[in-house]
């Protein structure tokens, strides 16, 4: 249960940063935190008490006690997606800074929000 709480704490903190902060890089950090939180949530769903990692390093390990591999595969995908989005976001932020000379979202508003 503590894992759920931890992951939701990350998600909520991240969303708070994205909603309340003005600095673009901070906002991207918030999104990154949300990603981590969601990943932790997915992995904790797949966990089984007393389970082992889903790897048959020797054939004697009983398959029944293994944790669920599917969330792990999903999270691998999600981590890579997070990297791609973060890199793209930061490149856009760099360009926004080049054009506007500021990272403050309140000042970058030639288009109406």
């Amino acid at each position: 249960m503590i894992f759920y709480i931890g992951s939701f704490a990350l998600v909520l903190t991240g969303l708070y940063i994205a909603a309340a902060k003005k600095n673009l890089i901070k906002i991207i950090m918030g999104l990154s935190l949300v990603d981590t939180g969601v990943n932790l949530f997915l992995i904790s769903i797949g966990y089984i008490k007393g389970g082992t990692a889903p790897i048959f390093s020797n054939a004697a390990i009983p398959g029944k006690t293994m944790v669920d591999p599917v969330p792990q595969a999903m999270v691998l995908t999600a981590i890579v997606i997070g990297l791609a989005v973060t890199a793209l976001a930061l490149s856009l932020v760099i360009k926004a800074y080049y054009h506007y000379g500021t990272l403050n979202v309140r000042k970058i508003k030639e288009l109406k929000w």
Binding site: I2, L10, G14, L33, A53, L90
Partner: protein, 82 residues
């Protein structure tokens, strides 16, 4: 799993400190700490593959990208301090 409790509390503390750090570099490091602790938690949850990916991608590469971005823009959240 007492260690899990300690780690999670530590992780939440790091996450909250991302909110409060005014120096973006500090915030980036706090973010990296969150990722690193998360990767340990993944390992505790019997997901070594994910732990590896999180450590290599989340903690190392994402942090590097963030640092480059901070270096190319402004270091402080409040832009009056330069």
């Amino acid at each position: 799993m007492a260690i899990a409790y300690i780690l999670i509390i530590l992780m939440i503390l790091c996450a909250v400190s991302v909110v409060f750090f005014k120096d973006l570099l500090n915030a980036v490091i706090a973010l990296a700490a969150v990722s690193l602790i998360a990767s340990v938690l993944f390992f505790l949850l019997q997901a070594p593959d994910v732990a590896m990916a999180e450590a290599a991608i989340g903690a190392a590469l994402t942090t590097a990208i963030f640092i480059v971005a901070v270096k190319k823009t402004k270091r402080y959240e409040n832009e009056k301090i330069s």
